[in-house]
């Protein structure tokens, strides 16, 4: 196992989209996409480098670090990657049809034994073999037949045991880099030794990597035609993207750099594929086509798309819901609860991070309750695959938020951690209890703690400003009012959603004195304000707050007026990602919502213009607030400065392990 991982990461050539039996797909690199703290494996589940721009990521450092760490902490590595694999949304054969490889997987427990014999750590090998199966499984997803071939070839080659598998890997490497292979071999043979990974990295020059890539591509072409076509098409966008990317690396960058970036990008793509909230590059036509073939929801892409945001999905709104409704009776493998929640996402009935998470978890609870393990299959793997397919369905309905990603990761880790001695009913009961506990502890109780902390910051005579409609902020205001504090509220709202109006109605109904305004008046009203309370969708590692579009404006104006900005966010929404701007990762809403004002037929100036070529409507849903505008983040762990978010992620991540 180590051999394969070592060999794939060493050349740093990502074979996007398909996997050979000898060079397991980017699974290792994915898990090693950031410095692994061997004591916090769950963190490896969410690669820090999910961001699409390679400029943010120095991959070599991570990879070399991770090579070291990987060797020393084998256990966590295969596990998260295994989860990650099946979620890679648009490549999952969603609609029910269990892939033939799955039955293969289910019926080949003996595969576990050779590895266990060799490695000696039973648990590790089991996990790794499980991961192995899942890798192959998802390989299948990537390119329909290659997975099956991979698996069969794997099976045949693995019968001999660990060392046999190493040989083809080592042989392959040897063709390309003699020096590197020499270093790799002792590493492999040592098994879990960690030393000489860094020299490995430096030895691979661009030319060698290129050569290796070509050779591997040729090798795959020889083996399976299908995979080559996929590989070529998927590696093409890798090269295309550096060209496409607007803020390309500085012009002085050499070809080596761009080649590197190409490699990095393909690595990121791999990583991205495996994260719970996959962010597919939607400007890559071939992958979009493939995704559409597998998609449950038929979505037609919007016509006029802003160039800068071509990497985000944008579909014609209005056609999805009726289409999905008509398919209801054909979607047999789809659980009705999941279907219902997906529809609610699509229609916009459920919005807001907490609500979406809770709805998703409750749907999964239903799924688990109704689940029964098919014969010849293991509960953990099968259930994980099912959950992944449902997750990809949700993603098609509406792209996942980061908090939902964290939640899914939690659920999958719980499934993986089920003791094998559990019977099916025990396992199901345990999972349902875990989900209940998650909702209770991380959302409901967390909200209570946040409210307790936040009301200590509200004094009599305060003027509190809030933007949009955050459920936590609403609870804080109502609770403070109940406590008898004298304050008034300014609600800032914005089109097209105008969520603040509902909040206004509810607050006024409870007797608070409120002022309502739109975001264009925020600098006018800010001088009266004493505190700003904002909710968020997620808080990232560098303290950036990712929330509803418009939040950054409000925070910036508040900062200019020296008004403290308090972000209220539960800890489960924290993420290790780093976002520098709102462009790389965002969600595009319905552009027609911008041009139409409901109830005002007379201001339909844009009606005939929406289809013109030089008219592009952009309806962003999220934006990123830099950490310098944030005074304090109130979480269930207390009140922390924005610089302490990575500390919480580190500690909180560890808790994942202890659950």
């Amino acid at each position: 196992m180590d051999a394969r991982r070592a060999t794939t990461t060493v050349p740093r050539v990502r074979q996007v989209g398909f996997f050979t039996p000898n060079a397991p797909p980017a699974q290792p690199s994915r898990t090693h996409s950031f410095p692994l703290d061997s004591s916090s494996p769950p963190l490896s589940n969410s690669p820090v480098n999910n961001s699409l721009s390679p400029v943010m990521i120095p991959p070599s450092r991570h990879l070399s670090d991770n090579l070291v760490h990987r060797a020393t902490s084998p256990l966590p590595v295969p596990e998260p990657s295994a989860f990650r694999r099946p979620i890679r949304s648009h490549h999952v054969a969603v609609v029910g049809s269990y892939n033939p490889t799955e039955s293969l997987l289910g019926s080949s427990p003996p595969l576990a034994s050779p590895s266990s014999r060799v490695i000696g750590d039973g648990e590790f090998s089991e996990e790794s073999s499980a991961g192995w199966f899942r890798r192959s499984n998802s390989a299948k997803f990537a390119s329909s037949f290659s997975g099956a071939f991979d698996l069969t070839s794997v099976k045949s080659s693995e019968t001999g045991g660990f060392h046999q598998v190493k040989k083809p890997v080592v042989a392959q490497l040897k063709e390309e880099k003699s020096g590197a292979a020499a270093v790799v071999e002792p590493q492999i043979n040592k098994g879990l030794s960690s030393s000489s990974t860094k020299p490995l990295k430096e030895k691979t020059t661009k030319a060698e990597r290129r050569a290796l890539q070509e050779a591997q591509r040729a090798a795959k072409a020889a083996a399976k035609d299908m995979t080559v076509s996929v590989g070529v098409s998927t590696s093409k966008p890798v090269k295309k993207q550096p060209a496409q990317k607007k803020d390309a690396p500085p012009p002085a960058s050499s070809i080596a750099v761009s080649d590197r970036k190409g490699v990095e990008r393909s690595m990121e793509k791999e990583r991205r594929k495996d994260i719970p909230a996959p962010r597919m590059q939607f400007d890559d036509k071939s992958r979009v086509e493939k995704a559409k073939k597998r998609a449950v929801v038929n979505q037609s892409e919007a016509r006029n798309r802003v160039e800068l945001f071509r990497h985000l999905p944008q579909y014609e709104h209005g056609t999805q819901l009726p289409d999905l409704e008509s398919k209801f009776f054909q979607l047999d493998p789809m659980h009705p609860a999941v279907y219902k929640v997906g529809l609610q996402y699509l229609a916009g009935d459920i919005s807001g991070g907490n609500a979406r998470c809770i709805a998703m978890l409750q749907a999964f609870q239903e799924v688990i309750k109704d689940y029964s393990t098919p014969p010849e299959k293991s509960l953990t793997r099968d259930l994980t695959a099912k959950i992944s397919s449902f997750v990809s369905f949700f993603t098609e309905c509406r792209p996942l938020s980061m908090s939902m990603g964290n939640t899914i990761r939690f659920l999958k880790s719980r499934i993986a951690k089920l003791p094998l001695t559990f019977s099916e009913s025990e396992a199901k009961a345990s999972l349902c209890a875990d989900i209940d506990r998650f909702i209770n502890e991380k959302i409901v109780l967390a909200d209570n703690v946040i409210i307790q902390h936040a009301v200590t910051k509200i004094m009599d005579g305060d003027v509190l400003l809030t933007y949009g409609s955050s459920c936590v902020v609403e609870m804080i205001l109502l609770y403070a009012h109940e406590l008898g504090k004298q304050f008034r509220v300014v609600i800032v709202d914005s089109r097209p959603k105008l969520k603040g109006q509902a909040l206004l109605r509810r607050l006024v109904g409870k007797g608070l004195s409120c002022t309502y305004t739109h975001i264009n008046a925020v600098s006018y009203i800010m001088h009266e304000v004493t505190r700003v309370f904002l909710g968020s969708s997620s808080v990232l590692s560098n303290g950036t707050v990712y929330s509803r579009v418009g939040t950054a404006c409000v925070a910036m104006v508040a900062h200019a007026f020296h008004v403290p900005v308090l972000i209220c966010c539960e800890a489960y929404k924290f993420h290790e990602r780093v976002l520098l701007d709102s462009i790389c990762s965002n969600e595009l809403g319905d552009p027609d919502a911008l041009s139409k004002v409901p109830g005002r037929m007379d201001i339909n100036y844009l009606d005939d213009l929406t289809n013109k070529d030089n008219m592009q409507l952009l309806n962003l849903m999220y934006d990123a607030t830099p950490s310098e505008y944030v005074s304090m983040i109130i979480t269930d762990y207390g009140m922390i400065p924005p610089t302490s978010v990575p500390v919480i992620v580190r500690e909180y991540g560890r808790e994942y392990l202890w659950i």
């Binding site: 910051k457 308090l566 005074s631 762990y637 400065p641 302490s644």
Partner: protein, 263 residues
């Protein structure tokens, strides 16, 4: 064990009540209570061993706070160079220790000392420094901006270090830090680690009030209000470094330490 904990809690509360405004007292008590709960969480079959461990820890605590000053003094020696001018505000024994150590290692520097009304801390400090043969200049509090040009660094102590990385210190510290920041002079804070408190003030009024009556020397008409608050809050963006017994830290590390301690 639980009983001991309860007794200790009662003792800690009454200690805190004795001086409700002292942040370091509160923080120190909280830290020790935290250690007690942590110890009792560990299962000790023998009560006596747990008790002796606590006593040991308490003694170490006292030792640490004495030693802390020496550690801080050692750490800050690198930052005091020959010919530098240091501005000091308030009477902090830690800062005094720092300057003492620097004087004893034969460094040549001079100190600008603010008067520190109404406590007249400046006078006390200048007395001490004069004994060490350190050239001292006394300023009135309003002369801080006037003399800031000639100053190389600002050294202050802290009553408490809060979670954001800012400090709560004698009234006038915020002013000095603001002036120093705008003139690009570094502001160094010397504080022991037991002063780290789980407070998070958002602005000056967000703290528990600590009032100290001011004697103007002449009777004040009854209609005139007097601002008697004895301390202010300096936000972390105006502080450069914190010298603590845990090392030389940036303000953002304070929260890191607190989280590790309390979670």
């Amino acid at each position: 064990m639980m009983e001991l904990e309860i007794e200790l809690k009662k003792a800690s509360d009454s200690l805190k009540l004795w001086d409700a405004t002292s942040i370091s007292l509160t923080a120190g008590c909280d830290l020790f209570m935290r250690y007690v709960t942590r110890t009792s969480a560990l299962e000790y079959e023998d009560f006596n061993s747990a008790k002796s461990r606590l006593i040991e820890r308490a003694e170490k605590f006292g030792e640490i706070s004495c030693k802390a000053r020496r550690i801080i003094a050692m750490l800050s020696q690198d930052f005091i160079f020959d010919g530098c001018t240091i501005m000091v505000h308030g009477f902090s024994r830690v800062v005094l220790e720092v300057l003492k150590t620097a004087a004893q290692s034969k460094k040549l520097f001079r100190v600008f000392c603010t008067e520190g009304r109404p406590d007249r801390t400046g006078l006390r400090l200048s007395n001490e420094l004069a004994k060490l043969d350190v050239p001292v200049k006394l300023l009135i509090d309003s002369a801080v901006a006037y003399t800031m040009d000639d100053v190389d660094m600002v050294f202050v102590g802290a009553d408490g270090v809060v979670e954001s990385g800012g400090i709560i210190n004698m009234m006038g510290t915020y002013q000095m830090a603001l002036v120093a920041h705008s003139m690009n002079k570094p502001v160094y804070v010397a504080a022991e680690s037991y002063k780290f408190a789980r407070l998070y003030p958002l602005d000056q009024k967000d703290m528990a009030p600590a009032l100290r009556p001011i004697d103007f020397g002449v009777p004040i008409p009854s209609k005139v209000e007097v601002e008697t608050s004895a301390r202010d809050y300096t936000p972390p963006q105006y502080l450069t470094l914190l010298f603590t017994d845990l090392g030389v830290l940036t303000p953002s590390v304070v929260s890191d330490e607190l989280i590790q301690l309390y979670l």
